[in-house]
């Protein structure tokens, strides 16, 4: 937190490198502060998943689903839902807001590197996602007695971080595609149906017929399968195929984000 004043004798190249690194770290800190100081965001990331778990999972937590307990089965499902929310909302909506108020314009007038802006947002999203998922796991452990064992909790958390990547990219896409008024609505419109259709709220086998047809083409379905495979409740498709789907969706959303970013640049600087 101390000032980064350097002596004039410092080598310019060395001090520039030092400056770039510490700028990224502090930008991540600022991104986290910006995110956690918005009360609505904390509610949707921490309170809402815990509430849904209490209402719909707790009553049947010890029943069996796909060969494992319902409690265990819902850890990947809800975990994906939490990191999906974190990914789409923490990067997308602030970007739409910051474009709306031209904060990005002021940043572009500074020597800040463009990658610092994006990298800080992605790192913040991952950290917030990990923290929100860990909070949810702790809640399930305490209220429902769900226990995967420490090794498995950590493996699941790691899996969630990988599974989160397409949703961070989707957040960037929404942030550049729509304005500040519409961003939250569009994000909800994407996350909620996607969670439902992918079997995160209702197990895949219990989904309506049309949802079963669509699910295997959705990113959240493959994200969920990565988690279910980990706890021994996965489908017949190999983990490598699910990973490929995740990588593909990440790439597609990133290309879309870049396209909308360029369109926005044209408007801002045109």
């Amino acid at each position: 937190m101390s000032s980064t004043t350097t002596t004039p004798a410092a080598l310019p190249a060395a001090s520039a490198r030092r400056g770039a690194r510490s700028a990224l770290l502090y930008a991540v800190y600022c991104e986290i502060m910006k995110t956690i100081r918005v009360p609505m965001f904390a509610v949707s990331l921490f309170v809402l998943p815990a509430m849904l778990f209490s209402l719909f999972v707790l009553p049947s937590v010890h029943e069996t689903q796909n060969g494992v307990s319902v409690g265990n089965y819902t850890m990947p499902s809800f975990g994906i839902y939490v990191v999906m929310m974190a990914g789409v909302f923490s990067s997308g909506i602030p970007i739409a807001n910051e474009r709306g108020m031209k904060w990005n314009l002021l940043l572009r007038a500074t020597p800040m590197k463009l990658w610092t802006y994006f990298t800080s947002k992605v790192i913040m999203s991952l950290l917030i996602g990990a923290f929100a998922a860990a909070f949810f796991f702790a809640f399930a452990r305490i209220t429902g007695g769900v226990d995967l064992g420490m090794t498995m909790w950590l493996k699941l958390l790691g899996t969630l971080m990988v599974a989160m990547l397409p949703f961070i990219a989707l957040g960037l896409l929404i942030g550049y595609a729509v304005g500040p008024q519409a961003a939250a609505g569009v994000a909800n419109l994407v996350v909620l149906p996607l969670s439902f259709m992918s079997g995160l709220f209702i197990p895949y086998d219990s989904l309506p017929h049309f949802a079963k047809q669509i699910a295997p083409y959705l990113p959240a379905y493959h994200a969920g399968q990565l988690g279910w495979h980990l706890i021994g409740a996965g489908d017949d498709t190999s983990v490598a195929v699910h990973l490929l789907w995740i990588a593909g969706y990440t790439a597609i959303f990133l290309v879309g984000a870049i396209w909308f970013y360029r369109r926005d640049e044209g408007k801002t600087f045109g």
Partner: protein, 297 residues
Amino acid sequence: MHESAQPLPVSLEHASKRYGTITVVDDFSFVAHPGETVALLGPNGAGKTTSISMMLGLKHMSAGQAHIFGHAPISTAARVRTGIMLQESGLPSTLKVREIVELFSRFYPHPISNAEAIEAAMLTEKTERRIADLSGGERQRLYFALAIIGEPDLLFLDEPTVGMDVTARGIFWDRIRQMHARGKTIVLTTHYLEEADALADRIVVMNKGVQVAEGTPAEIKATVMGKVVRFRTPSVNAATLRALPGVDDATLTDHTAELFTRTPEVTVRALLNSPTEVQDLEVTGGTLEDAFVRLTA
């Protein structure tokens, strides 16, 4: 530091900005020399902010070239030497004053201390405040802190005192003069002649996208502070009118004479004492808007 071989802090050559058929800035050239404070003066919509944005590479130019210290405006070499206060930019409302100043300090290789920047912006009492809780004037001063944190050689201040009361404006002017005294090159836009006069070594007047006047504050004031003495007269020539005391210029069209003068009392007295026949006498002008219109005509 500033040898003559050194590239100009700001140079804008034949810049134009068009949106479709609308021309916002038309063939505008501008330079700022090392250590100079230049004011870009003009009414709202004159093209001042667009011109500054082109100097900074924040707007694409339809034609022309811009350089900051001889570099492309958006290059890091230019950015690290430039501090900018933009009229139309927001700040993340949930961050604290201390946090955003620290963030900006990390963008620059040799920043001044946060305390120094915050003090220069008169925000020492508000260091722990969130940006959302700042008044318009305080926010404006925070932009100033962010503009100077990187110890830039060149400062761009776009309408810097908008939202400030008279007292705050006076103090803020002192801070800008301090920057000038420390050898910084300053380009500021304003629609207050008073502000340009108080701060600038040189004033460039813009209206409707073109430069309409340029000079020292004294010269510009003389040009824009004048009045127009208008009257109908059947028989007189322009040369006679120009010879009247205090008259800078005179025109005569369809028996209507217009005298431009900075001392209307002297001119009118002389006019009425002269043999010239005078009907429908009126004295108008004096506002900056009138002056811009006359300079553009």
